[in-house]
């Protein structure tokens, strides 16, 4: 080196700041402090530590606390042997901020697209037996709350077999819980809550709801949303809780909306095949919509089973939106709520009604009575929940 370059130095053992001259010899250097020699140190062991005021500080990767601060203009010969300075982190520094942002942005968009799309083709790959086990582990005998009478079960069997070609892999139950709701759970489990039967005016209405839940099962929505939820949690894990949770919730909500529509389409087709009038279901949705537009805080269908996101369920119950009238802003909010507005769902069922067609009732009056009164007539069924499940809004949203 042409002329001596003065710098400050901590040896990492004592807190004394030493003023030294760098004496370079090949890949190594000594630090000379008024006659006392520190070193030799290898340039290859140095790591850039950051800027401290005017000084660029280097540390030694093997000696704790070893620091060398270079102030002012660093001689070119010295700069060439020093490690490069880092700023954003080594990957970003290598690419440059703009290019790194672009590359990471594209990678993230790709990862997001895969995570969002993958459940659709991953869900069918999950063996039915595994899904069944998951469903059994979760529900078991539902704490003895499933209602069971011979006539009631016969009516339920008739209702379901009319709506699906092969119901042997489905597990449809009526639970003695007073909620206007129904859920599809992992493993082809469908639970109709007794409150739904109480509030339905005919078996045809229940048929529409049941067909909707069957749609969730047949389209593997439950497994899909389970996988999507897990994928999104991992993907968004980097954001801190609030932001990640919000993004996650909004993204999966968009998908739960489309799942609801898909299940509705399935239900409309099933009703058509079974020769059951869709107008009954439309009427049911209209009543839900009216309940919704009244005071949604106390409406019975909002108190659903409040599933954590892992055991995601899809319900027929209405959206827990606080909309009182419809204008554009509230339609926007309606989109963000977890279920399609009952009014628009109602229209779809209405449209599928064929004029002058002779529809047959889903059940005879006796069968319908047997189904409705199954819980009341079952002597040893448990009722309600030992715990208050809370009155959170619908389980799909959070």
């Amino acid at each position: 080196m042409a002329q001596p370059y003065t710098t400050w130095f901590y040896d990492g053992r004592s807190a004394v700041r030493r003023h030294v001259v760098i004496d370079t010899a090949g890949g190594q250097f000594h630090l000379v402090e008024s006659g006392h020699l520190h070193g030799p140190f290898a340039f290859s062991r140095l790591v850039y530590s950051g800027q401290q005021g005017d000084a660029h500080v280097y540390k030694h990767d093997e000696i704790d606390g070893w620091r060398m601060g270079l102030e002012g203009d660093i001689p070119v010969a010295l700069e060439s042997v020093l490690p490069s300075q880092n700023r954003y982190g080594s990957w970003v520094d290598r690419l440059g901020l703009g290019r790194a942002a672009l590359v990471f942005g594209l990678l993230s968009a790709g990862a997001m697209a895969i995570i969002l799309a993958a459940p659709q083709w991953l869900a069918p790959l999950v063996p039915t037996s595994a899904e069944k086990k998951l469903g059994d582990a979760l529900v078991g005998d539902f704490g003895g709350r499933f209602c069971n009478t011979e006539a009631g079960q016969a009516a339920l069997a008739k209702l379901s077999s009319g709506l699906d070609k092969d119901v042997s892999d489905l597990d449809i139950e009526v639970a003695n819980i007073d909620m206007v709701n129904a859920v599809a759970l992992p493993g082809g489990k469908i639970i109709l809550f007794n409150g739904l039967l109480d509030n339905a005016e005919s078996a045809d209405e229940v048929a529409g709801v049941l067909a909707h839940e069957m749609g969730h099962v047949r389209k593997r929505h439950v497994m899909q949303s389970l996988i999507r939820q897990m994928g999104l949690s991992v993907l968004m894990g980097g954001f801190d809780g609030n932001i990640g949770g919000t993004l996650n919730g909004l993204l999966s909500m968009g998908y739960s909306r489309s799942a609801e529509s898909e299940a509705d389409r399935h239900a409309i087709q099933a009703l058509q095949r079974a020769d059951i009038s869709p107008l009954a279901t439309a009427g049911f949705f209209e009543r839900l919509a009216n309940m919704e537009s009244m005071d949604s805080v106390e409406s019975p269908q909002t108190g659903d089973s409040d599933q954590p996101e892992t055991e995601k369920s899809s319900q027929t119950g209405s959206a827990a939106s606080d909309t009182e009238s419809f204008n554009e802003a509230e339609t926007l909010l309606g989109y963000l709520s977890s279920h399609p507005l009952s009014k628009s769902r109602k229209t779809a069922f209405e449209k599928s009604h064929v004029k002058d067609r002779e529809y047959t009732p889903a059940l005879t009056q006796d069968e319908w009575d047997a189904l409705r009164e199954m819980c009341a007539n079952d002597a040893d069924v448990e009722s309600g929940f030992g715990f208050d499940f809370g009155s959170g809004d619908s389980g799909n949203s959070r």
Partner: protein
């Protein structure tokens, strides 16, 4: 080489042992590039962002004659985060699933027991997290090439945290100042810098009067409410009733908050005044008024962020008929696919102002603490040697997971 600070003469900012010399502009550049990289990496960059922020704040902080240096890395914060996911979040997920299954199957007792165990575990880990965050921060803070740390892993502190907090809440919460101060002293008493052990001997009794003020305020408030109620009934004027209701609500939300703040101001002064390291005594001079200004500024930052999101949002909704995109989706369509492309940019736009809130609040709080930190006594640089405490390879993952902020 000796530095001497006299306690008798109140230090002017130039003479104070601590000084912060950062500026908004330089920090803003760091914060903005951090947000950009955090968004494009779906949040993973956040750990490196934290590191860059701290490197800046530390390097702009002078203690006596040299700046502080932050040497933590983004990678070790990421490792800490992953550890928490593996050891804590995933088991928690499974426990929740089991608990839900037990509940659905009518095993309420077992579900309740499981909940109890789970809450106990979270409680313990909360204490452990506070301890380890402080240890991590000291181990990564260098001054004159010397760092701090602790050889105590903090597992026993986790137990202390549980029983002391529990005792604090017993006897109608009257012992809360004791538990807070005792835990502060225990935490700091196990830390060291260089070869010296910290000593923390803050006395909770000094904060107790302020605490009683906070503690008794609701009772005084209740008595006041009764008196105002009687007066209002006597006067029988709706306007008077309205005003008194507003006053009561204001007292409850603002008054109680302010009284709590007077306690915290006192608590930090007493706690830090009780802190010393070898021949150095620390002090903290922020009064309630200073804390009030600090928090008022924080609220202002939130307000600005909210306005920055709300004003454009209102404009967009107002003209949404022009967009025409938000019609009611019909079951025949696939709304998820349709709006996702539109939804993501809107979300990103709405999130950015709020993402800026955190960095600027952290900047203000750091500046606040450094500005009011004091130090007296003397330090012998010849005699101060490197810490031999072990350092962990992972950052404050637990603290991050619990979203706990410590100084």
């Amino acid at each position: 080489m000796r530095e001497h600070f006299d306690k008798t003469t109140p230090p002017s900012p130039e003479d104070s042992a601590f000084e912060f010399s950062g500026n908004w502009g330089a920090f803003g550049k760091i914060a903005l590039t951090n947000i950009l990289l955090t968004i494009v990496t779906l949040g993973i960059y956040r750990f490196w962002a934290t590191t860059r922020e701290r490197k800046y704040l530390w390097s702009e902080t002078r203690f006596i004659d040299d700046r502080l240096e932050w040497t933590g890395t983004g990678l070790e914060l990421l490792i800490g985060f992953v550890l928490v996911i593996l050891l804590f979040i995933i088991p928690l997920f499974i426990i929740q699933f089991v608990q839900q299954a037990l509940l659905l199957q009518g095993q309420e007792g077992a579900a309740a027991a499981l909940t109890f165990v789970m809450l106990g575990l979270i409680f313990y880990l909360g204490g452990l997290a506070r301890y380890r965050a402080l240890r991590y921060r000291l181990a990564r803070t260098y001054w004159h090439g010397i760092r701090g740390g602790s050889d105590d892993q903090g597992f026993s502190y986790g137990w202390s945290y549980m029983w002391k907090t529990a005792i604090g809440y017993m006897i109608l919460g009257l012992l809360i100042p004791w538990s807070m101060m005792s835990l502060w002293n225990e935490r700091w008493g196990r830390m060291s810098f260089g070869q010296h052990q910290f000593s923390a001997i803050g006395d909770y009794a000094d904060t107790f009067k302020r605490y009683l003020l906070f503690y008794l305020a609701p009772f005084i408030f209740f008595a006041g409410a009764v008196i105002i109620g009687i007066m209002t009934a006597a006067v029988d004027s709706p306007a008077m009733a309205g005003i008194s209701i507003i006053l009561l609500v204001l007292f409850f939300y603002l008054g109680l908050g302010l009284i709590a703040m007077t306690f915290y101001a006192k608590f930090y002064r007493v706690a830090i005044d009780g802190l010393s390291l070898h021949k150095l005594d620390f002090g903290f001079s922020a009064k309630t008024k200073d804390w009030f200004i600090l928090l008022l500024g924080d609220a202002g930052i939130w307000l600005i962020a909210a306005l920055a999101v709300a004003l454009p949002a209102i404009t967009i909704i107002g003209t949404s008929s022009l967009l025409g995109g938000f019609e009611m989706p019909q079951p025949g369509e696939d709304p998820g696919q349709l709006y996702l492309a539109l939804l993501v940019p809107i979300l990103v736009f709405a999130v950015i102002p709020f993402m800026l809130v955190g960095p600027f609040i952290r900047y203000r709080h750091w500046r606040f603490f450094i500005t009011y930190m004091q130090c007296y006594g003397e330090i012998d640089l010849e005699e101060l040697t490197q810490s031999d405490t072990s350092t962990s390879k992972h950052g404050e993952g637990l603290l991050d997971a619990f979203d706990i902020g410590a100084i």
